[in-house]
Amino acid sequence: MNKLKTLFLMQVKEKIDFSFLKSKKQIIFKVIFSIFGFALITALSYLVMFLCQFLNLFSALNRIPMTVMGVVFFVMFVLNLLTCMVGLSKTLYFSKDNQILITYPVNANALFLSKMLVYYIYEVKKNFSFIIPVFFAYGLISSMPFLYFLWFPLMITIFTLVPILLGALLSFPIYFILRFFQRFPIVKVVLTLILVAGIVTAVVFAINAIPEDINLIRSWGVISQAIRNFLSFFADKFFVFYAITIFLCGRFEGINHILFTEYSWIVLLIMLGTILVLVGLNYLISRPLYLKMSVKQFEFSIIKPKVHQNLVRKKFWSSCVNETKKTLRDTNILSTTLATLIITPICILLLNSIYSAINTRLMGDYLAISFNVLIILLFTLAHNINVSNIYSKDGGAMMQNKLKPMSPTKVLTPYLVYNLVTTTLILVASVSVFLVNTDLAVLDSILLFFTLLFLSYIHIICSAEIDFLHPRDLKSQANINQNEVKSSILTFAISLIFFGVLFFFLLDGLNGVYLKLFCVVTLVLILRCWLFHYKARVLFKEI
C-alpha cells in the first residue's frame, strides 16, 4: 500500500502542479483564483441559462427542462470519453516513464492502479472547472435545494470513474491506431484530409440548405417546435443519460423539485454495478495488456534512404529553409494548418450565407462585417498559438542556437517563417471569401486585408517573444503551458478589441475607418518588430 501511495504521489506531482503549497501566500492566491474561476464559469453559465429561460427557448414554462441538462450531460460524457481514450492510451502505453517505473521493485498491478488513480484525480479536478459549475448554475436558476449542491459534486465524482474505466478499455485499439499513425504519418495526414473533406462537403451541403430568406421572428414557432421535438427524441432514445441526469439533478413535479425519486437508488445501484463490471474488465483486459505493451520499444527498422546531394545556401536563407522544413515535418502542425486553411473560409462562407439570408439594417451590416473579421481573426490567431512553443519545442537544440554565428534576431526569425507564410495563405483564402460576399470598396478591402495580416503578424511576434523570454520544458506535464495560455489570451484580446473598435468606428460613421485602422496596426507592427529585435539583442544571451 505504501508503495502504491509513493507511486501515486510521484506521478500526481508530475501531472498536477502543487508548487503553490510551498508558501501560504501562493495557497491563498490559488484558492482565491480557483474560487473566482469557479464563480466566473457558474456566472457565465447562469447568464446563458437565464437568456434561454428569458427567451423561452426550450420551454414555454419559463424554465429549462431537465432534458436540456441531459443533452449537456451526454455531450460532456462523450467528450470526456474521447479525451479519456486518447489520454489514457498516451498515459498507459506511450508514456516514457513506463520504462523507469517498470524497473522499480513494485507489484506491476500497483503500477497500473497508480496510473489509473492519477488519471482519475486529474479528471475529477477537470470536473470542478467545467461540469460542476455548469450544473451549479442550473441549480441556482432552478432554485434547487441546498442538498443538490452537495449531492451533485459527490455523485459526479463517482460517475467520473465510468468514462475513465471505459476509456481504459477502449484505449487499447486507440493505442494500435496511434502506433500505426506513428509508423506511417502520411496515413494520418491522408485521413485528416479525408475527414476535412467530409466536413467541407457537409458544410457545403448545409450552406446550400440555408433558405434565401431567414426571418427568425416569423419562423420562431417552427424553430421552437423543432427544438422541443429534438429534446423529446433525446429523452426517448437516450433514456440512460436522461435517467442519470434525473438521478443527479432530481425532477420537477409542477413547481416542486424532488431530488431523490423512487428510481434514484436503483440508478445508483446500477451505476455502482457498472463501475464494478468495468473494474473487473479492466483487471482482466487492460492491466495485462498494459504490462505487456508499456515496455515495448517504439523504434522501427531503418529504411535505407535515398542519398541526397550537399546543397550550399546563404546563412539566413538556409536557416529559413531548415526551420520551415522542420515544421513541415511535424504532422500535428501541418494538419492544424491544413484544417485552418480549409475550415476558416468555409466558416466565413457559411456565416455570410446566413447573413445574406437575413434582412438587416445598416447596424446589422456593420455587425456582419465585424463578426466576419472576428471569426477570421479568431481562427487565424488560434492557428498561430503554436508559436508560443516554437523555441521551447527544440529543447536543448534551442539553447545551441546561441552558438550560431548570427545576430540573435537572425537566429530567432527563421522559426517564424512557416507561420508568417501560412497565416498569409489562410488570410488570403478567408478574406477573399468574405470580400466576395460583401460590397466593400476595393481600397477598403485591400486595407482590411493588410490590417488583418499585420494583426496576425503582431500576434506571431508577441507569441514568439513570450517563448524566447520564457522557454519551457515541454517534457514536463506538471504545469499548464503558461506560454500557450498567454498566447491564447492574446488571441482573444486582439480579436475582441479589434472587433469592438471596428464596430464602434463603423457605427460612428467615420471616414477612412479602414485607413485609420491600417495606420495604427502598421505602427504597432513596426513597434513590435523593433521591440522583438531589441529584446533579442539584449536578452537572448541571458536565456
Partner: protein, 772 residues
C-alpha cells in the same frame, strides 16, 4: 495713471531689494526667494480679486473684442498667457539650481515683462474693464515691476546673451511644454474661436481628441523626463512647474465672489487634485499623495470618459478647456510622479491609508452636500447627491437611489441621504480603487522590465564603445586583439547564476595556444561546463572576458563564434532533419564552400561509419550516432578552436579511436583542442597540458611533461588535488556589493571597487595555497 504706479514700484523695489540684501548678510538666494514669494502672493491676490475678465467673451479676436483693434486683443491675449508661464518660472527659480530656469528668466521672462510694460494699460483694462486706478491694476503693476527687475537681474548676473548651444536646445525642447500647459482656459477661444459646436461627449471625435492628448501628454512627458531619471530634483522642478501653471489656469475661474459661496468650493474630487499635486511636490506628504494616486486618478479617468459639461460646446470653449486641463492633469500627474519615482511605489499600507482618506472625504462630501442643499439645490460634490451618475447607469440605479431615502431635520436644516445608493457608490469606488492597485502593479512590472532592458542595452553599447576605443577602430567587428590571435584566453572569468550569491566559477584564468590539446578536468559540479558555456557564449560571464582567436565572445559574438566548433555534453539536434540536412545547415551558417564541405563530410562520415544513415532523419539515430553528428557539425567548418565537453560518451570503441585521431590531427594543423572529460586515461594520452577546476576555481595547471618528470601519473596528481581539502576548499561566496550590481558598468571600465575586491580575494587565496 497705472504707469505712474508702475514707475514708483520700479524705483521702490530695487531699493527694497538691496536693503534686504544688505540686511541679511548678502545671502542673495534668500532675498530672491523672498521676492519670489512676494511675486506669488501678488499674483494670487490679483487673480483672486478679479471678478471678471473681458477676454473670456472674446471669440477669434473679433467677436466681443473689448479693444479698438484686433492686434491689441491678440497681444493682450498672448501676454496674459505668457505672463502666467513667466511668473511661475520666476516664482520657482530660486528654489531650484538649474540653468534652464535661469536661462528662461533672463530671456523669455525678460521679453515677456518688457512686453507687459509696453501693454500694461490694455492688460489692466482686460481684467478690470477700465483704465482707472484699481486694486487689480496696482497688483499687476507690482507683478510686472518685480518680474522685470528680477529678469533684468538674472540677465545681468548670468552673462547676458551667452547661452551654450546645448542649453539653447534644452530650452527649445521645453518651450512647447512651458507654453501649452500654461494657457489660461479662455485664451484659445479668444485667439482661434471655439470651432463651432461639435460633439464633445460620448466618445465623439472632439472628445476622443482630448482623450488622445491626455495620453500623449502622459507618455510624452514620461519619455522626456525618463532621460533625467537620475536627477529627481530636476523632475520635481518640471512637475512642480506643470502643477503650478495648471493650478493657475484652473483658478482663473475662482475669484473672491465665487469663493464666498461655499457651494462653489473646489471640493469635487478632481478639483482637489489641482491643489493636492503642487502641495505634494513642494512638501513630502506621503499619505496625501497616495490618496491622489488611487482616488484622484480613477476619478479623473471616469470623469474624462463621462464629462459633465454641455455637449453643444466648442472645442476651445473656456469651460471645456478648463475641464480638460483639470482632469488631464489630475489623471496624468500622479501617474507621472510615481513612474518617475518622486514618491516611492505604494505598498499595501499606503493603499489602506488612501482608502481611509477616501472614506473621510466621502463622509465629508456627504455631510456638506446634505447641509448645503438647504441653501442651494445644485450642490453636488463628488456627484453623490444628485442623479447625475444614476441617470447614466439606468433606471435601476435611479430606483435604487430614490427608493431608499433617509432624511432628518436639525435646527430647521434638513439633511437628506440616499444610504443604499451612496453606500454602493462608495463600495464600487473602493473596488475600482483596488483594481487600480493591480493596474499599478502591472504597470510597475512593465516599467521595471523595460528599464532593466534599457540598462542592459546601455551596458552592451558601453562595452562596444570601450572595445572600439581600445583598438582605435570604428566598428566593433573591426576590432581584434593581436595578442590573442591563435589563442583561447579566459581572463578572470567569474560566473554567478541568477540572484545566487555563490560563484559557480571564480576568477578563472586560462590561456591555450595553437597546436595544443588542452585537458580540462574536475569533479562533477566543479564548474567545467559553466566555463565552457561561458567560452562558447551560451552563458554570459558575470565578470572577466574571453577572447577566441582575438575576438571577444561578449562584445563580438558573431566573429568569436565563427572561430570555434563545439561538441556539447548533451547533444541536442534537430530531430526532424536528416543528418545531411543538419550538417549542411551548419556548414551554411559558417559559410563553408561546396568543395570543402563535400570533402569534410565525406571524410568524417566515413571514419565515423555514418555514411549509410546520413540521409535518415536524426530522430531515428541511436545515442552514439547523434553524438557523431554533433562531432561532424563541430568540425565541418574546420574551426580554429575545437571545444569538446565529454565527447566520447556513448561512442563505440572504433569511433572513440577515430575521434581521438581527429583531435590529434586538428591540433597538428595548428588549431586548438579544448577537451573536458572525466576519463583521465584518455586525457593523459591525448593532452599536452591540463587544468583542474575545483569548486569553481582553477586549482592546478600543469603539463604532462612536468608530471612525467615528477614520476607521477595524471590520475595520482588529479586525486591528490581533489582529495586535498585544503586546496580550493574555501567556499566561493562573495558578498557582491549592491552598488556594483545596481550600476552595471562596462566590462572594460570596471569599477575600481570591484576590481580591488576580486584582486584582494585572489591574493589571499593564492597566499594560502602557497603556504600549503
Amino acid at each position: 495713471m497705472n504707469y505712474i504706479i508702475f514707475g514708483c514700484f520700479l524705483v521702490v523695489i530695487p531699493i527694497l531689494f538691496f536693503s534686504l540684501k544688505k540686511f541679511i548678510s548678502k545671502k542673495i538666494n534668500l532675498v530672491l526667494k523672498i521676492f519670489s514669494l512676494f511675486l506669488a502672493v501678488c499674483f494670487f491676490i490679483r487673480n483672486f480679486a478679479t471678478d471678471s475678465n473681458l477676454l473670456e467673451n472674446v471669440v477669434g479676436l473679433s467677436y466681443q473684442n473689448p479693444f479698438s483693434s484686433t492686434f491689441l486683443a491678440f497681444m493682450v491675449s498672448i501676454l496674459v498667457w505668457l505672463t502666467v508661464a513667466s511668473t511661475v518660472i520666476l516664482c520657482i527659480l530660486p528654489f531650484f539650481e538649474y540653468k534652464i530656469l535661469r536661462n528662461y528668466a533672463k530671456t523669455f521672462c525678460l521679453v515677456v515683462s518688457v512686453l507687459d510694460i509696453a501693454f500694461l494699460g490694455p492688460i489692466i483694462y482686460s481684467f478690470t474693464g477700465s483704465y482707472d486706478i484699481s486694486l487689480c491694476g496696482a497688483f499687476l503693476s507690482i507683478e510686472v515691476a518685480v518680474s522685470f527687475l528680477y529678469a533684468l537681474y538674472m540677465f545681468a548676473t548670468e552673462h547676458f546673451f551667452k547661452i551654450p548651444k546645448k542649453e539653447l536646445l534644452e530650452m527649445a525642447i521645453a518651450l512647447p511644454i512651458v507654453l501649452i500647459l500654461s494657457v489660461p482656459p479662455y485664451v484659445p477661444q479668444a485667439l482661434f474661436g471655439n470651432f463651432g459646436t461639435m460633439g464633445m461627449k460620448d466618445l465623439a471625435l472632439c472628445h476622443r481628441i482630448y482623450l488622445y492628448l491626455t495620453f500623449i501628454f502622459l507618455i510624452g512627458m514620461y519619455f522626456l523626463l525618463k532621460r533625467k531619471s537620475k536627477d529627481k530634483e530636476y523632475i520635481r522642478m518640471v512637475l512642480l512647474y506643470i502643477s503650478l501653471v495648471t493650478l493657475v489656469s484652473y483658478c482663473f475661474d475662482y475669484d473672491f465672489d465665487r469663493f464666498i459661496e461655499p457651494t462653489r468650493w473646489p471640493l469635487h474630487l478632481c478639483n482637489t487634485a489641482m491643489f493636492i499635486l503642487p502641495i505634494c511636490l513642494i512638501f513630502k506628504l506621503d499619505k496625501l499623495f497616495y490618496f491622489t494616486l488611487f482616488i484622484n486618478v480613477l476619478g479623473a479617468f471616469l470623469a474624462m470618459l463621462m464629462p459633465n459639461y454641455q455637449d453643444a460646446s466648442g472645442f476651445f470653449t473656456p469651460a471645456i478647456v478648463r475641464f480638460w486641463i483639470n482632469h488631464s492633469m489630475a489623471f496624468s500627474m500622479p501617474v507621472l510622479i510615481i513612474l518617475l519615482r518622486i514618491y516611492e511605489r505604494p505598498r499595501l499600507r499606503e493603499f489602506k491609508y488612501s482608502m481611509i482618506g477616501f472614506l473621510l472625504y466621502f463622509i465629508l462630501v456627504l455631510f456638506i452636500n446634505a447641509w448645503f442643499t438647504n441653501y442651494d439645490i445644485d450642490v453636488d460634490f463628488f456627484f453623490v447627491n444628485s442623479d447625475f451618475i444614476a441617470d447614466k447607469l439606468g433606471v435601476w440605479a435611479e430606483n435604487l437611489r430614490l427608493n431608499y431615502v433617509w432624511s432628518f431635520t436639525i435646527n430647521g436644516l434638513t439633511f437628506t441621504f440616499y444610504p443604499l445608493y451612496q453606500f454602493l457608490f462608495f463600495l464600487v469606488y473602493v473596488v475600482l480603487g483596488l483594481g487600480m492597485w493591480f493596474l499599478y502593479a502591472f504597470l510597475f512590472q512593465i516599467q521595471d522590465f523595460y528599464l532593466k532592458l534599457e540598462e542592459k542595452n546601455r551596458k552592451i553599447k558601453l562595452d562596444e564603445q570601450a572595445l572600439c576605443l581600445r583598438y582605435n577602430v570604428k566598428g566593433v567587428y573591426e576590432a581584434m586583439n593581436k595578442e590573442s590571435v591563435n589563442k583561447l584566453c579566459v581572463n578572470g572569468v567569474s560566473k554567478q547564476y541568477g540572484n545566487s550569491k555563490n560563484y559557480s566559477a571564480f576568477n578563472v584564468n586560462l590561456q591555450v595556444q595553437a597546436g595544443e590539446i588542452f585537458g580540462f578536468l574536475g569533479p562533477n559540479g566543479a564548474g567545467k561546463s559553466t566555463i565552457i558555456k561561458c567560452i562558447v557564449g551560451m552563458q554570459p560571464a558575470t565578470y572577466g572576458n574571453i577572447e577566441i582567436n582575438g575576438y571577444d565572445i561578449e562584445t563580438q559574438p558573431q566573429k568569436a563564434k565563427e572561430q570555434f566548433g563545439f561538441v556539447p555534453d548533451h547533444y541536442a539536434l534537430y530531430e526532424n532533419l536528416t543528418g545531411r540536412e543538419f550538417i549542411n545547415y551548419i556548414a551554411d551558417l559558417y559559410g563553408v564552400s561546396k568543395e570543402e564541405r563535400e570533402e569534410r563530410i565525406s571524410k568524417y562520415t566515413k571514419i565515423l561509419a555514418l555514411t549509410d544513415a546520413f540521409d535518415n532523419k536524426i530522430k531515428t539515430y541511436s545515442h552514439g550516432m547523434k553524438q557523431k553528428i554533433a562531432i561532424i557539425s563541430a568540425l565541418v567548418h574546420n574551426p580554429k578552436l575545437w571545444i569538446l565537453d565529454e565527447p566520447l560518451t556513448g561512442l563505440d570503441p572504433n569511433s572513440i579511436f577515430q575521434v581521438k585521431e581527429c583531435m590529434k590531427e586538428h591540433a597538428q594543423n595548428g588549431n586548438i583542442v579544448f577537451f573536458s572529460s572525466h576519463i583521465i586515461d584518455i586525457v593523459e594520452k591525448l593532452c599536452d597540458r591540463i587544468s583542474i577546476i575545483k569548486k569553481g576555481q582553477i586549482v592546478a595547471s600543469t603539463t604532462l611533461e612536468e608530471l612525467k618528470d615528477k614520476n607521477m601519473t595524471l590520475e595520482e596528481f588529479y586525486l591528490s588535488i581533489i582529495n586535498d581539502d585544503s586546496i580550493g576548499n574555501k567556499p566561493v561566496r562573495v558578498e557582491v556589493k549592491k552598488k556594483v550590481k545596481e550600476k552595471p558598468k562596462s566590462r572594460f571600465f570596471k569599477t575600481k571597487e570591484k576590481e580591488l575586491e576580486i584582486e584582494k580575494y585572489t591574493k589571499n587565496e593564492f597566499e594560502t595555497r602557497k603556504k600549503k
